[in-house]
Symmetry: none
Subunit: 410 residues, 2 copies
């Protein structure tokens, strides 16, 4: 089956903003065996949007529209789709009450503008939005389906995943696609590809895609066959070969991010971790605590950004900075040792480095980062040279620190 996606919002016709919701949606649709054949980006213009909706529905049986469901006068998606389908908009007191209650819970008053979010296109099912005021809408038409979703990814994604996916699976012909998704840390994209290209190249099916972010490489396999069993067997055949070649460099086979994998390992051991962060100034702690329930394994730590803070807050001997420098093996080891001691955690991680853009006052080049790991038996520190770019260096450092702890815990 083919689908189209329309992203609505004048801001996405400016030089500053690009639609990325459609990338995520495309992945979900592909997994259902649906191909995206066209994407349209259109401003907050009722006439143009209505025309685009009508034209898309002439071409494909599944249309997904994101954005333009907000409370302001710009937000015209409801009106435009109703116009395209020649249907009325019906006020829903139930939705209006729900929006009002949401504002109350937040201790605020509902603005009169928000009333327009309580209108449903005739015949549409409401898609509840636990993360915002705009409900989505699902329309079953004689020739197809229209899904209208909010623009903010934090609202759109949960709505699609929890409400639309189950409905789509019911309505779509059984898909014969099986996928594998591996996440790898501790090696770069080129080295990884050099290692596994001889394995996946002979296979036209599954299709192999490799994507890289800072310190994180993702491998996607997508097998498509006449039956589920064939697709599963093919995905498993290539997948197991790749897993065998990569060994413990694969940290996740179910999409879990590294901080969740490390959290699960700590929890299984009844262990805890604390951090001492210089260059990253809190990014590592922020990352570890992205996982709900992380207070079971994360205690806390020290943001020792200013040079003096390493002694003043954390209690590292001043001689370490004087003799070895603030970006040094001795400093990373002392920071990890000290925060483990002070917090009482089972493990501790430390990061000290120069993120750039300039070299440090001690002459350390941007990208140079020492990472320390302290455990019940030893304290170790390793040095890394990450590619340029301040935020990139910091993200690499956080990912690498988490991976060092993962390897220590295995």
């Amino acid at each position: 089956m083919n689908a189209e996606i329309i992203a609505v919002g004048s801001e996405m016709l400016t030089p500053q903003r690009v639609d990325t919701n459609s990338l995520w949606l495309t992945e979900k649709l592909n997994d259902l065996g649906v191909e995206v054949t066209q994407k349209t980006i259109i401003g907050d213009d009722r006439g143009r949007l209505a025309a685009a909706v009508g034209a898309a529905l002439d071409r494909v049986p599944l249309l997904i529209i994101t954005g333009g469901l907000g409370p302001t006068e710009d937000d015209l998606t409801r009106e435009a789709v109703a116009q395209a389908l020649r249907r009325r908009l019906l006020f829903s007191q139930e939705i209006c009450d729900w929006i009002e209650a949401r504002f109350k819970r937040l201790g605020r008053q509902m603005s009169p503008n928000n009333r327009k979010q309580a209108f449903l296109i005739e015949g549409a099912e409401k898609l509840a939005n636990p993360n915002g005021t705009a409900p989505g809408q699902w329309l079953d038409l004689p020739g197809g389906m229209v899904l209208i979703l909010p623009g903010p990814p934090g609202e759109m994604k949960p709505m699609f995943e929890s409400l639309c996916l189950p409905l789509l699976k019911e309505r779509l012909p059984q898909s014969r696609i099986r996928t594998r998704f591996y996440r790898v840390s501790g090696m770069g994209e080129s080295n990884l590809d050099a290692l596994i290209a001889p394995i996946y190249k002979p296979y036209g099916n599954p299709v192999t895609t490799i994507l890289a972010a800072e310190g994180d490489v993702q491998i996607h396999l997508r097998a498509q066959c006449d039956t589920d069993e064939e697709a599963e067997a093919l995905a498993e055949e290539l997948g197991s070969k790749i897993l065998a070649a990569l060994g413990d460099r694969v940290y996740s086979v179910d999409g879990s991010p590294l901080e969740a994998v490390v959290g699960a390992l700590l929890k299984a051991k009844g262990a805890t971790v604390a951090v001492a962060e210089s260059a990253t100034a809190g990014m590592l702690g922020a990352r570890i605590t992205q996982t709900p329930g992380s207070s079971e394994w994360f205690l806390g730590g020290f943001q020792v950004y200013g040079a003096a803070m390493k002694s003043k807050l954390l209690g590292v001997d001043e001689k370490v900075a004087q003799e070895d420098g603030v970006v040094s093996e001795a400093m990373a080891a002392a920071m990890a040792y000290k925060v483990r001691e002070r917090s009482g955690a089972t493990y501790a991680l430390s990061i000290t480095g120069e993120a750039g853009p300039e070299s440090s006052s001690e002459g350390v080049e941007p990208g140079t980062v020492w990472i320390g790991v302290a455990g019940p038996e030893k304290v170790e520190a390793k040095v890394f040279k990450f590619p340029n770019g301040r935020e990139r260096v910091r993200k690499f450092a956080v990912q690498t620190a988490l991976n060092l702890l993962r390897l220590e815990l295995l």
Copy 2:
């Protein structure tokens, strides 16, 4: 004048790739006073592309198409545009010789496939490509213009800049654009719009666009007139009215992010800041240090995520947690007071709250966050109830804490 952009290529309909050529083109077009009213992304499919070209030319007088000019069988842009316009494709011996000579210069042989790059749509002008084998094409039609450009940015951009811009300037009516860009913190999108809609609605020009992220609302104004002076006067007229209505809620008029604005305020006063973070576990420190050079004003702080860490690392009296709870006014105030004292910073910020998804063990609802600000004269804490979503609550908390410090510094 209005324009549309069509990006051609099946790879841009995968989950991995997004069209970014159109952002660059939009900026160039906006500078000429041309609005982009729709963007379409379409695969290497002749029928779909021809239909999209025809439909776009019914809507706008300027159509720019990028991609699909390569030598492979997938590359069908020339054929599709010819089909849409009902024109023939004519072989150009001159272009063919040029392509062959280019291959010779690179010490390679021209592949027979490359011959298809030597076809011009009847009536089109060739746009020379010094950076690749695919020439672009320029078509003047009775009702408008079609520009066909190669997909690789390194070929598309120089071709547009050196050949298309001068031709467009000749053909387009002169008009001038002036913009304003305000960033606002401390009020939501709906409330902001309710406040300023009566001011901007009477103006069709400038065009006003409002965008919102967690705790951050952006207002874009775009004035378009016959002369620079008129456009500047119009942007200034509406801009100054909006600024007057919003007062100190506007934190930036030059696009600077909030952490940079706060950093500049601290630096100007020769002041420093430290942080004590519970629910955000380091996000605030990480955010402040996104600004290069932030070691001039950011000292460091404490990640007191585990309940016991608030006393153990930071030294908050244990009675505060016992009597008031870890998410309380007293705790936020004590955390800010203590980290200011321990670090020696001029100001300190603290965050303690429940990010969710579950209520805290003390029964605090997700989204409830206390933020403390300590300065030379006083310590204060305020409570906020942010919308659901663990990362959202944390981002709102960080943005709000920075804004409280900004208001304190003003």
